[in-house]
């Protein structure tokens, strides 16, 4: 029996108020060509596209997956057309809508460009009150600033294979966002025993207590699916800034807010009393191995 030649799912990648960070992150995907071969790219900010931009903004195309990158600004125009018209049309027309990045998911960095009118597609920070509220069953939020290319590749592959992408309350794929950025950090032992980093630029010490690391409060897979296949922020001693969460960007990013030396935010789901009991005890121990340097290089000067 002759098999039906299935058409490749079509993608329109459209932008709001953006820095293009997600576009460039995606271009780093390993085996990008193999993934792209499974789809037809109608329109993309830098990859070869099969349709011209005019037909995108004229709303004359039928596409399967509408990817939106950037904050949604109802007054913004692209190609002299209001993006609100384009977004409204393709959200109804497409089978899937992917809000790519924290700007499209929650408002993100560029909500501040026009805070009273900018938002994500479905969420305005924590509130579910975005312009595509009526299409919410189609919307998948891949939050991050930028996204990791594998997070998008995962979502597209699942769609292409016809598998359901299970999502959390914030419409983020559970398989990607159920772990915390904290899981897999190479400094975990320092977190366990409350050995804080004294300064930046050291191999040792946990960055949660003083340097503002948000990893125990952030849903992300950065220390599981490594960045550029090799590393992550915390692995190079940079604190996590919580970029996948609706409150990104926060303020005073490189320091931890404490009340009487007690961290204002404790790990997700852990009651403060429980955290203080554990931390309070651990902090009073002095474990030589953990307080010393891992490697002592003989200096040349």
């Amino acid at each position: 029996m002759p098999s039906k030649q299935d058409k490749k799912p079509s993608i329109i990648w459209f932008q709001g108020v953006t820095c293009n960070g997600n576009t460039h992150s995606f271009l780093n995907l390993e085996n990008l060509d193999k993934l792209l071969n499974k789809f037809e790219i109608f329109s993309h900010p830098s990859l070869p596209s099969t349709k011209d931009f005019d037909s995108v903004t004229r709303c004359s195309l039928e596409c399967d997956i509408f990817i939106f990158e950037g904050t949604y600004d109802p007054l913004m125009k692209r190609n002299d057309v209001l993006i609100s018209k384009v977004v409204e049309y393709y959200a109804k027309n497409a089978k899937y809508v992917i809000a790519l990045g924290s700007c499209a998911s929650f408002g993100g960095m560029f909500k501040a460009s026009a805070p009273h009118r900018n938002s994500g597609l479905l969420f305005n920070e924590q509130e579910k009150s975005g312009p595509l509220l009526n299409q919410q069953t189609k919307i998948i939020n891949i939050s991050g600033c930028p996204i990791h290319p594998e997070w998008l590749a995962y979502t597209l592959s699942m769609i292409e294979k016809g598998r359901e992408v299970e999502i959390d309350d914030l419409h983020r794929p559970i398989e990607l966002y159920s772990t915390l950025a904290h899981h897999g950090c190479t400094r975990n032992e320092y977190f366990e025993w409350k050995v804080d980093a004294d300064n930046f630029g050291e191999k040792e010490g946990c960055l949660y207590y003083k340097q503002g690391c948000r990893a125990p409060m952030t849903h992300a897979s950065c220390n599981k699916i490594l960045w550029n296949e090799v590393s992550s922020k915390t692995r190079v001693g940079t604190p996590c800034f919580g970029c996948t969460e609706p409150d990104f960007p926060r303020q005073n990013l490189f320091s931890t807010k404490t009340n009487m030396s007690i961290p204002e935010d404790v790990p997700l789901g852990v009651p403060k009393r429980s955290y203080l009991t554990m931390a309070g005890i651990a902090k009073t121990f002095h474990i030589n191995r953990l307080e010393g340097k891992l490697i002592d290089y003989k200096t040349t000067d």
């Binding site: 108020v17 953006t18 820095c19 293009n20 960070g21 997600n22 576009t23 460039h24 992150s25 271009l27 780093n28 995907l29 390993e30 990008l32 792209l36 900010p45 830098s46 990859l47 070869p48 931009f53 692209r78 190609n79 002299d80 960095m109 560029f110 501040a112 460009s113 026009a114 600033c145 930028p146 300064n199 930046f200 630029g201 050291e202 191999k203 950065c222 960045w227 550029n228 296949e229 090799v230 590393s231 992550s232 922020k233 915390t234 692995r235 190079v236 001693g237 940079t238 800034f241 960007p249 303020q251 005073n252 990013l253 490189f254 320091s255 490697i295 003989k298 200096t299 040349t300 000067d301």
Partner: protein, 432 residues
């Protein structure tokens, strides 16, 4: 009659308004329509937050913004009476990641922008391989990520140094990525070893090759780009690095330069509001970027091109190709100089103690990037950003055009659109 041409795939979009006479461009104005107000967003924030916010000006050159910010902050520390001494290791690693970002930018620009655009003009049937650009960029990004944690959008540079404390394992890994990248570039793009390519002294040397780069070069000659896209033939390099020679250049004659003479003026764009200000030096327009940097460092092959073809679109494009090659070699050299026993970050006073102004300047992929900050008790009072595209691709009056406007004059519309792209436009940077 004014015709409007919308350009996309330039890290955003822009509109060019062409005033044609006898089928060639008499005058063109450029409008960048989008504005995000990052300078306002920065006001009132803790100065360290700028290290996370400014990289979000741009997805392809965010790392340059990070370095400009950290330099501005460290300058403020110095002006507040707390000078920061950076170890040599820190200076080298910072320059390494900056250079790798330039390399990934050029890979993408060559394969995703320029080669396809040239192919349109030559009606070429040669197979397009845009993903070569993405692949080269991804390996460069890996090398960055070993030091910076990730690319794009790392914040691993902080006042006093860097957050990373690498071991020899990290250095060897980066070295192997460099070898992979260079091997890829040699095999897939150059068709000759990097060493031999860097020894080219004349454009005629390209005739010996049969590769993507040699085809690009030959195509540019075919469509006479070596005689088109000429502009002011004067250049600006401001960012101070091991790989740059800051100077103002009139043709190839270098002069001293002082960043305090950089000024901005509103764009002249009567047909549509443009949010991009024009950047000038002492009220004059200068071209910035790889061609400027190559001429400033007296790179023999680029000097040869310039002698024959001045600041044509050919020189502009090929200078970028050569910068990719020279930076690959430079990056490898930087790597070999890293002494891991040196300190990654020296502690200084907490930021709330800082009340001062500071300026940070780097050479980003497209030219000088200037950040100036005014801090009071650790909070940002004022923040100003000037990006390289503002130097190259501003929009000014007919009697005093910007470099890109001058380069497009007298061209057909198709040629003008191509010449516009040879400046490597970054729309998002320009309209921060």
């Amino acid at each position: 009659m004014i015709t409007k041409q919308l350009i996309d795939q330039i890290e955003g979009e822009a509109s060019i308004f062409f005033d044609m006479k006898d089928d060639v461009v008499d005058f063109a104005t450029i409008a960048f329509p989008h504005f995000r107000g990052i300078e306002s967003i920065l006001k009132g924030k803790s100065a360290l937050d700028a290290l996370v916010i400014t990289p979000r000006v741009c997805g392809i050159c965010g790392h340059a913004h990070l370095m400009a910010t950290v330099r501005a902050l460290e300058d403020a520390y110095k002006n507040a009476g707390y000078p920061i001494e950076l170890s040599e290791k820190v200076e080298i690693i910072r320059e390494f990641t900056l250079v790798m970002e330039i390399i990934q930018n050029h890979f993408k620009w060559i394969y995703l922008t320029i080669i396809p655009e040239v192919a349109k003009l030559t009606n070429s049937t040669r197979e397009q391989t845009p993903l070569k650009g993405a692949y080269g960029a991804s390996i460069a990004s890996k090398a960055i990520a070993i030091f910076a944690g990730q690319w794009p959008h790392s914040s691993y540079m902080i006042p006093g140094g860097i957050t990373t404390d690498p071991t020899n394992i990290d250095l060897l890994k980066v070295e192997s990525y460099m070898d992979e990248l260079i091997g890829f570039f040699e095999k897939e793009s150059l068709g000759i070893s990097l060493e031999k390519f860097l020894a080219f002294e004349s454009c005629k040397d390209f005739n010996t090759l049969n590769s993507d780069i040699s085809h690009l070069e030959a195509s540019l000659v075919d469509i006479k780009m070596n005689d088109k896209g000429l502009s002011y033939d004067r250049f600006l390099v401001i960012g101070e690095h091991i790989f740059t020679k800051p100077s103002k250049l009139k043709q190839t004659r270098p002069f001293a330069i002082d960043a305090k003479y950089v000024n901005t003026v509103d764009a002249y764009s009567p047909d549509q509001t443009s949010y991009a200000k024009n950047a000038q030096y002492k009220n004059d327009f200068y071209e910035t970027g790889p061609l400027a940097r190559a001429i400033a460092t007296n790179l023999p092959i680029v000097k040869n091109m310039h002698r024959r073809f001045k600041d044509s679109a050919y020189s502009r494009v090929m200078a970028r190709v050569f910068e990719l090659a020279t930076l690959l070699e430079h990056a490898k050299e930087l790597l070999s100089k890293i002494d891991i026993s040196q300190k990654s970050c020296l502690k200084s006073v907490d930021i709330p103690k800082i009340t001062a102004k500071g300026i940070g300047i780097v050479e980003a992929p497209r030219g000088p990037l200037l950040h100036s900050v005014n801090i009071k008790d650790g909070l940002i009072q004022d923040y100003k950003i000037v990006t390289p595209t503002q130097f190259n691709i501003g929009s000014s009056s007919k009697s005093n055009p910007t470099p890109a406007q001058k380069a497009m004059k007298g061209m057909t519309q198709a040629e003008a659109l191509f010449i516009f792209r040879t400046f490597d436009v970054c729309s998002v940077c320009t309209t921060h």
